[in-house]
């Protein structure tokens, strides 16, 4: 699919920036920025290598380890997990590529060790290759010990939910319970129930689970976020707000922060959204919300963030298949910043072929409504009905 990229919008927008109250950073954020480097001395630094939470030494140690023990699955899995964590932390998908490479010695999914296959499925999920992830997980879970792999079932339930396959996701939730982890199984069911509109029972489940004082913080955070999303879709702004705030009180949570920012932007509170995202790593998801909230709030940082997001989109679009994997963010950007509903609609349509969370349908609905095309609106309605998603925000748009 050829990515819709409108250059005339950029020229018009460029003039608009210059004229409007905005700020313009020169040179470094030029899209397709490329200039020759002409070093004159040997000790001149030409590149600073990325060093995230691990130190450079650890990096090299890991690489040496993997190279020195090519058949050692435990080492490979450990290294790959470290890389995946770095990828999430920095919002840098290159690390996910390095993680996949560490698992290279086991290309055949049928013979790869269990944790290699599970980690590969997780990486595929991170890189938005959902079909591949589901395939890897099904292979893994078909193995004799499959029924005890709670994590694998849970990941499968999540990926199926993202694809809008709620019934299959429920089946995976059930198997999580059978593998022995009741809390996650119940929460898993409740998430699917909430999406289908069984809001009361889902809410009760979450509240019951949260009442347990000995819940690990991470689980608490996940439950509260799910509850907040439920309340958002059910139209209870105050409860959603309270739930989001509770999550962020527990500690930094990038996923919840972006979720909360979306909620605040929808509620017409963009400056609060900016505050929430202030200290987060500028992943694509975070930067997009900063750009949208900043524009709505006429913040000083708005133009810079918009420019940077535009650059990232342009850079990513150099790959012909890029808009498939970044369709959601690009559609939101096209709609909220460029006010280009036709382009947003095309991107949103491509996106829902890949993922179908409530937000993806919402973006499709908003793009359809903004474009005014009757069949686009019908299409959005039909998709919502087919999936059986319950979301008052989408109802309001359609």
């Amino acid at each position: 699919m050829r990515c819709p990229y409108d250059r005339s919008v950029r020229s018009r927008t460029r003039r608009a920036w210059a004229l409007a109250a905005g700020l313009f950073v020169v040179a470094l954020s030029q899209p397709g920025f490329a200039e020759p480097i002409t070093p004159t001395r040997d000790d001149e630094i030409v590149e600073v290598l990325p060093a995230a939470s691990g130190t450079r030494d650890e990096d090299r140690r890991l690489r040496k380890l993997v190279r020195g023990r090519p058949g050692d699955a435990a080492v490979a899995v450990m290294v790959a997990r470290r890389y995946l964590a770095r990828a999430r932390e920095a919002g840098d998908p290159r690390f996910a590529g390095l993680a996949l490479a560490a698992l290279h010695p086991w290309p055949d999914a049928t013979t790869a060790p269990d944790d290699v296959l599970l980690l590969r499925a997780t990486l595929q999920q991170y890189l938005h290759d959902f079909d591949a992830s589901v395939a890897s997980l099904r292979l893994l879970l078909a193995r004799p010990e499959g029924e005890h792999m709670a994590q694998a079932w849970l990941t499968l339930a999540t990926v199926l939910r993202v694809q809008g396959r709620y019934a299959e996701s429920d089946e995976a939730c059930r198997r999580v319970g059978l593998a022995g982890v009741q809390v996650y199984s119940s929460a898993c069911f409740a998430e699917n129930a909430a999406l289908r509109g069984e809001v009361e029972s889902a809410r009760k489940t979450f509240e019951t689970l949260l009442a347990n004082p000995r819940l690990p913080t991470a689980t608490q955070g996940w439950l509260l976020t799910s509850l907040a999303e439920l309340e958002t879709r059910d139209g209870h702004a105050a409860s959603a707000d309270a739930a989001f705030r509770s999550v962020l009180r527990l500690g930094p949570d990038a996923y919840a922060a972006v979720d909360y920012a979306d909620f605040l932007i929808d509620q017409g509170r963009p400056s609060e959204a900016l505050k929430v995202l202030k200290d987060e790593t500028r992943t694509d998801a975070v930067l997009l919300r900063l750009a949208i909230a900043g524009t709505r709030a006429s913040a000083a940082t708005a133009t810079r963030d918009v420019a940077e997001m535009r650059d990232r989109i342009a850079l990513a679009d150099q790959r012909p298949d890029a808009c498939k994997f970044h369709g959601r963010e690009q559609a939101m950007f096209a709609l909220a910043i460029d006010h280009a509903p036709a382009r947003a609609l095309e991107l949103a349509r491509g996106n829902v072929e890949l993922q179908r969370e409530a937000i993806d349908l919402l973006v499709l609905a908003e793009a359809a409504r903004a474009s005014g095309e009757a069949d686009a609106i019908d299409e959005a309605r039909r998709l919502k009905a087919t999936l059986g998603v319950y979301d008052r925000r989408i109802d309001a748009v359609l």
């Binding site: 899209p31 490329a34 030409v46 090299r60 840098d92 590529g97 996949l100 790959r319």
Partner: protein
């Protein structure tokens, strides 16, 4: 030294995209040139370039590793029917970091559907892709994404109907006068260039006499100096625009942009206090050289086709001049009509120059500290 400063300012790159390498192929009968940009960061993972393990790559480390880089890369690229040899090397800074540039060539004729075997970083990062642009004379660019996990990619020639083919996609060919429009657009939105010209024009409808500025009597008396200034500016910026576009001279924008602000300040200052011992035309020429580099910075975005490069550059420059003439015409007419105003010297020349100096000073601060201050 200047390049060093530029590099330090832009040294730290942050990436939020997967690994890409960029290949630019220019195919002519019996000759193929290839430019291959590979991220140093990716090469470090594969070849461990950071020998002193300080987390930074120095020019020395890259130089030492260059033979290894070349043999590593060349072993992982094969174009059917073309034997590649290296012809040069370079370094390029992009949004997500520094890239090693390999210049390659071959005396083959690239087939209509070249089969490219690309396996760079296949075992280092399976998400890496090679983004190839194939340019043949007089034809639209063919874009192809090379996947190292696939043994080889056959790049199909593009046609308008084939626009969404998976392997090769045609970029819409530019209209014949596209770069003319870009030139006009660029000068009209180039507020710093416009302000510089206005500073030069403010006293143009006056003459410098022993008693100070006096209004000219006839329009022709104003037009001559104005023409002189415009010509000097045009010739100067055309020279440096051409030099920069051909990559014969390259100055980092971290130097050029503040320098442009300085030219405005000095031009404005000269209106109030005579600071230049030479004629204004000479000053305009010298400053015009700097502005030319400023225009050149937009060229990299425009993707000037290598085949019609000269024609596109000419169009761009002509566009600049057309826009310029428009601005100058309007400004001169306006200034000429108010030149007899008693307060012209005070308000227009002095006041206008002061405002210009202030704006230019703010731009200077903005462009050296990278802190946005102005809305334009």
């Amino acid at each position: 030294m200047i390049a060093c400063v530029g590099v330090l300012v832009t040294g730290l790159a942050s990436a939020h995209k997967s690994s890409d390498a960029y290949l630019q192929l220019d195919a002519a009968p019996n000759h193929l040139t290839l430019r291959w940009d590979i991220a140093l960061r990716d090469l470090d993972v594969a070849l461990d370039l950071d020998t002193d393990a300080d987390g930074k790559l120095s020019w020395g480390e890259v130089k030492t590793a260059w033979p290894a880089i070349e043999s590593y890369a060349m072993a992982r690229l094969a174009i059917d029917g073309c034997e590649l040899r290296t012809t040069g090397r370079g370094l390029e800074r992009r949004n997500d970091g520094a890239y090693a540039v390999l210049y390659l060539a071959s005396d083959c004729t690239l087939s209509r559907q070249p089969v490219i075997a690309y396996t760079l970083f296949a075992d280092v990062d399976p998400t890496h892709r090679g983004i190839a642009k194939i340019q043949r004379p007089g034809q639209p660019i063919v874009l192809s994404m090379l996947d190292p996990s696939k043994a080889s990619t056959s790049t199909e020639p593009a046609s308008a109907a084939n626009a969404s083919a998976p392997a090769g996609i045609a970029i819409r060919p530019p209209s014949r006068w596209q770069f003319l429009g870009e030139g006009i657009r660029h000068i009209l939105t180039g507020y710093d260039h416009v302000l510089f010209l206005l500073c030069l024009l403010l006293p143009a409808v006056m003459r410098r006499t022993r008693e100070g500025w006096r209004p000219v009597d006839k329009l022709s008396e104003a037009i001559l100096p104005v023409l002189g200034i415009i010509t000097a500016f045009t010739v100067a910026h055309s020279i440096t625009l051409g030099l920069a576009a051909l990559k014969l001279v390259s100055l980092p924008s971290s130097f050029i942009e503040p320098a442009i602000a300085v030219t405005i300040m000095l031009a404005a200052l000269d209106n109030v206090w005579r600071v230049f011992p030479v004629r204004r035309i000479v000053v305009t020429f010298c400053f015009g050289l700097i502005h030319g580099f400023g225009f050149a910075s937009v060229l990299s975005e425009l993707n000037l086709p290598t085949a019609d490069f000269a024609w596109a550059l000419l169009q761009f420059n002509v566009g600049l001049e057309m826009g310029q003439l428009l601005i100058v015409g309007v400004a001169t007419a306006a200034l000429f009509s108010v030149r007899d105003w008693k307060r012209y010297r005070q308000i227009v020349i002095r006041g206008g120059s002061m405002v210009a100096m202030l704006i230019a000073a703010l731009w200077f601060i903005e462009r050296t500290t990278n802190v946005p201050l102005m809305p334009f």
